[in-house]
């Protein structure tokens, strides 16, 4: 029997399974207060998903506000936080929109589909801004390389990303792949998508204009990811067949590709008033959010939702997470044109309701009203928690146990080779060669470059005139954040910012994915609060606003949380993409320069991790002013054509940076270390440093630029030869570097 509004009013005391749906008693009581009666089971479905941590950000909201209140003034910001994705002005009338999102848990349960649908979801977020998705990136963390769990999960995750992203025709232009025991049983799969659009064509998730039609288009709705709904269905209906619904969503990248092309034609034809993707919480989320941001009301006939499985109940339709669906608001006069475009792309589309001005979201099923709520109460007015937090009890001891007590190596050659072969530093080619980095023909830089760079002109009709390009990098270091979440988040930002700048691009804006343990644990909550505070402060200092992001809580196995892992993505712009700086040593005969200052900073370093399995002390000092100056000279020097090649110095220090620079094009180099202590010079992970190469004739001009911006510049030596030579310290043929660097992943996954 349908649990209608009428029935709910008559049976106020019927028990409801709100606890099984993850709602607290006071949350449930608030719903009753809002409605003045008990919710119907469909309404309960809507509130329970909309008020979940995932959709409502109830534990993180009070902290995330800082991204707004501390946001630096930025003329580039066109759409800030709160929309599906932020939008940034990149010049010449064009805008970029980008966002990173987690799909951690689903990727653990079913690696291939979990990761694939993670890509699919973030791509639809970008489409819903009116943009053409133009590239993806992926930031991955797994348990130890040799853990059985990693062997099970990693290949599937990579295959899922490869399968979905390649099939969509989105070049994969970068990402991260790191290993640490803390991610056993809880891998992190964060996917980023970037899109482009004309500045004046931004679309928003809003449903204005009473009488406008609400169209659901894309895949049909099936019983995907509705574990929660089965609780409701079995509680309400005692129907066994509905008791076990799959929690796994399966992706159909071909349908998504059709959706992309279809949406772009719809935007071009200007037949869309508002648009929203269907992600977590599916129809519930799309209808409440569209209605809440529009004229305030909407009427939906749920019987009209096209189903893959005709036995679905309304609660299940509302909660289904079937992939490859979008919802649009369309003026009645444009409906025929809208439908014709969908038909051309073989994309099913159905009018399921219309916009009203009643301030109520009303849904019917078999002629009965089953939902009648003020949509804003579900979409925007969810619970907000000020979760208690305090510094972890072991934090002081952890910080006191610095790397000073660790034995330092005498054989630096062996140390470098062992670092190069260690899982975090080793070549990621086994993974990245499974991704198409060339499709669409606009990839300027991709792996193993520090940032991905795309040409804008020619991606979109009408963009031929612009010479601009965009650069993107993601970074995050869970070890640094464990030692100091405030500094760790800032170092993640600093590294991504620097990675963008070494290509010659001006950093413009930030997205972030905050991966943490349970917010109900005050020690985790402290890590979270500190990380957000750190990131917001650093964004302010660096002048790059946060435009959006995602929070992923409950990343833990039992009571053990992962290292706090804020992953930060930075987007930058090149006014002339032809002036991008290439990666590493590109040719012999160039001066090799180290920019920035090296101190004895080995807390949380790759060396401490690889050589001693040690984590303690403090991370390298954050130097935001120095990062700013460094980026400024990199951008200016690139514009003036002074830089030939570059590489950022981070994990594994200068030693690893030199080795990677040499391996990039098979060009060696000879350098003399500037400091007293070769070990510190080579393996310290001090921030705000980069390696660049310049032609001898440009050296003066470049050195002057550095002096003017007070960026320390050490002349290390020159490129050339078949080996990397650090005078008086080590000599390693590039082929030997490569052998050490490339063997690790294949040895585990190709066996």
């Amino acid at each position: 029997m349908t649990d209608s509004v009428e029935r709910a009013a008559k049976t106020p005391d019927d028990p409801q399974p709100y606890a099984e749906l993850g709602m607290k008693p006071d949350e449930y009581n608030r719903v009753r207060e809002i409605l003045g009666r008990r919710p119907t089971s469909s309404e309960l479905a809507i509130y329970s998903v909309m008020w979940s941590e995932h959709c409502s950000y109830k534990s993180s909201k009070v902290h995330l506000r800082q991204f707004g209140t501390k946001a630096p003034k930025s003329e580039a910001l066109l759409v800030g936080m709160g929309e599906n994705a932020g939008v940034v002005d990149i010049g010449d009338g064009w805008a970029a929109t980008f966002k990173i999102e987690s799909h951690n848990h689903p990727s653990y349960v079913e690696p291939h589909q979990g990761a694939a649908t993670g890509v699919g979801g973030i791509v639809r977020d970008i489409m819903s801004m009116g943009a053409r998705p133009v590239a993806v990136m992926d930031s991955l963390r797994f348990g130890a390389l040799d853990a059985p769990d990693t062997r099970r999960v990693l290949p599937g995750v990579v295959e899922g990303i490869s399968f979905y992203g390649n099939c969509l025709g989105l070049p994969n232009i970068g990402g991260e792949l790191l290993f640490d025991d803390c991610y056993i049983g809880n891998p992190l799969v964060n996917a980023l998508c970037v899109g482009l659009l004309r500045k004046d064509q931004i679309k928003l998730a809003t449903a204005p204009g009473p009488g406008n039609k609400v169209v659901l288009f894309g895949a049909r709705t099936g019983p995907d990811g509705i574990g929660g709904a089965s609780v409701l269905a079995s509680a309400t209906f005692e129907d066994e067949s509905h008791a076990k619904r799959p929690a796994v969503q399966v992706g159909d990248p071909f349908m998504e590709k059709l959706l992309i092309e279809c949406c772009l034609e719809l935007f071009e034809a200007d037949v869309v008033v508002g648009i929203q993707d269907l992600g977590a919480a599916g129809v519930s989320c799309a209808t409440t959010e569209l209605a809440a941001k529009g004229t305030g009301g909407m009427r939906v006939d749920l019987n009209r939702v096209p189903l893959r499985d005709p036995s679905l109940l309304p609660e299940e339709i509302l909660m289904s997470e079937s992939q490859e669906r979008m919802m649009a608001v369309v003026v009645p006069d444009d409906i025929d044109a809208f439908m014709a475009i969908c038909a051309r792309w073989d994309v099913p589309a159905t009018v399921i309701g219309e916009v009203t001005d009643t301030g109520r979201l009303v849904m019917t099923w078999d002629g009965e009203v089953i939902v009648d709520i003020p949509p804003g109460t579900a979409a925007d007015e969810g619970p907000v928690y000020e979760r208690p937090y305090h510094e972890p009890s072991g934090q002081a001891a952890l910080n006191a146990d610095g790397p000073a007590r660790l034995a330092r190596p005498s054989d630096l050659r062996a140390t470098l080779l062992s670092l190069l072969g260690s899982p975090n530093v080793a070549s990621k080619e086994w993974v990245t060669s499974q991704y198409d980095r060339y499709v669409r023909g606009n990839t300027v830089l991709a792996m193993p470059a520090d940032a991905g760079v795309l040409r804008i002109g020619e991606i979109m009709p009408g963009a031929e005139e612009t010479d601009r390009g965009i650069a993107l990098a993601t970074d995050g270091n869970g070890r640094f954040a464990r030692l100091d979440p405030y500094a760790g988040a800032q170092l993640a930002l600093a590294e991504a910012y620097r990675n963008v700048a070494v290509t010659g691009a001006r950093p413009l804006a930030v997205t972030n994915c905050l991966n943490f343990g349970s917010p109900e644990d005050p020690e985790v909550m402290w890590q979270f609060a500190e990380a957000v505070r750190g990131l917001a402060d650093a964004c302010k200092t660096l002048g790059v606003p946060v435009t959006g992001g995602n929070v992923s809580f409950y990343n833990q196995t039992g009571a053990t949380a992962i290292n706090p892992t804020p992953v930060v993505g930075v987007l930058g712009v090149l006014d002339d993409v032809g002036k991008r700086v290439r990666h590493g040593f590109t040719e012999p005969g160039l001066r090799i320069l180290l920019l920035g200052e090296t101190r004895d900073e080995l807390g949380g370093s790759e060396w401490a991790h690889v050589a001693h399995r040690h984590l303690g002390g403090l991370p390298p000092e954050v130097q935001l002013e120095a990062e700013r100056s460094l980026a400024a000279i990199l951008v200016t020097a690139a514009e003036r054509g002074l830089l030939v090649g570059s590489h950022d110095v981070s994990d594994g220090g200068l030693a690893v940076a030199l080795a990677e620079a040499a391996m990039a094009h098979g060009v060696g180099g000879t350098v003399r270390l500037p400091g007293e202590d070769a070990f510190v010079d080579l393996f310290s992970e001090s921030s705000a440093r980069a390696l660049v190469t310049v032609r001898p004739e440009s050296f003066e001009e470049f050195a002057e630029l550095c002096a003017r911006h007070e960026v320390p510049c050490s002349n290390l030596g020159a490129t050339g030869g078949q080996e990397l030579r650090v005078e008086d310290v080590l000599e390693i043929p590039v082929t030997e570097l490569r052998a050490a660097h490339q063997a690790t992943l294949p040895a585990t996954f190709s066996a």
């Binding site: 390649n166 990248p253 590709k257 059709l258 792309w345 499974q434 499709v439 669409r440 023909g441 993409v577």
Partner: protein, 227 residues
């Protein structure tokens, strides 16, 4: 006389159509888009079937596209001498449509592979390779999950004997192809299929670190200028 007009076919799920059109324009030709559902070749001088995942590569790569209305026009035209180049998914479609012999199967390593691959032009007399020197070595990207060329022994022998192996992989066999075969032609040499992507190796700034792919486009254009 106007520039040669090269049709670029878009199927649902085609990905490299814009790149192919750009490469044709860069070489001095006119790119004409052709839509899978139209029974119309729009009077083009040659046709390029680009790569991608038409119909999601579901069932088998190219298996569903082969039945597109456009193909009903293309197959007889190709048999009558219209130059056709299929790369990657385009090659797969040409095999499924029996315009080329053999089939492209799952990479022996079982993974999709995207890499800059050295290849050699084995036959510089086809409609699409005339601008290369015989034996010329090229760096072109490959990017596919099902590129292992197979055919029965007799077919392979006759392809080899008659110079219809147009392009061959060097150094590494990225997918386990029989005899390192990267591309083949039909008997007349007007229909060529290859797994590598010349359209991603035509500009200094973007794509693979080479511009070796240009020759495929200049070959076909010169042919029409010289007619």
């Amino acid at each position: 006389m106007g520039a040669a007009r090269v049709g670029v076919v878009t199927f649902p799920g085609t990905l490299d159509d814009q790149d192919a059109a750009r490469a044709i324009r860069h070489a001095g030709g006119e790119a004409v888009s052709l839509w899978h559902a139209d029974r119309d070749l729009r009077g083009v001088d040659a046709v390029f079937l680009p790569g991608g995942f038409s119909y999601g590569d579901y069932l088998r790569c190219g298996a569903i596209s082969r039945f597109a209305p456009l193909m009903e026009e293309l197959v007889p035209a190709a048999n009558a001498g219209l130059p056709v180049l299929g790369t990657c998914n385009g090659f797969q479609i040409l095999c499924e449509a029996h315009l080329l012999p053999g089939a492209l199967t799952r990479n022996v390593g079982l993974h999709y592979v995207c890499r800059d691959q050295r290849v050699r032009v084995e036959n510089a007399t086809t409609a699409w390779t005339g601008d290369y020197a015989p034996g010329q070595e090229l760096l072109l990207p490959v990017k596919h999950g099902e590129g292992r060329y197979v055919a029965d022994q007799a077919t392979i022998e006759s392809l080899e004997a008659s110079g219809r192996v147009v392009v061959r992989y060097l150094d590494v066999n990225p997918n386990g192809s029989t005899n390192f075969i990267a591309g083949v032609s039909n008997e007349a040499g007007n229909v060529v299929g290859l797994m590598p992507h010349p359209e991603h190796a035509v500009e200094e700034l973007t794509g693979a670190p080479s511009v070796d792919g240009r020759g495929f486009f200049t070959s076909i254009l010169k042919r029409f200028v010289n007619l």
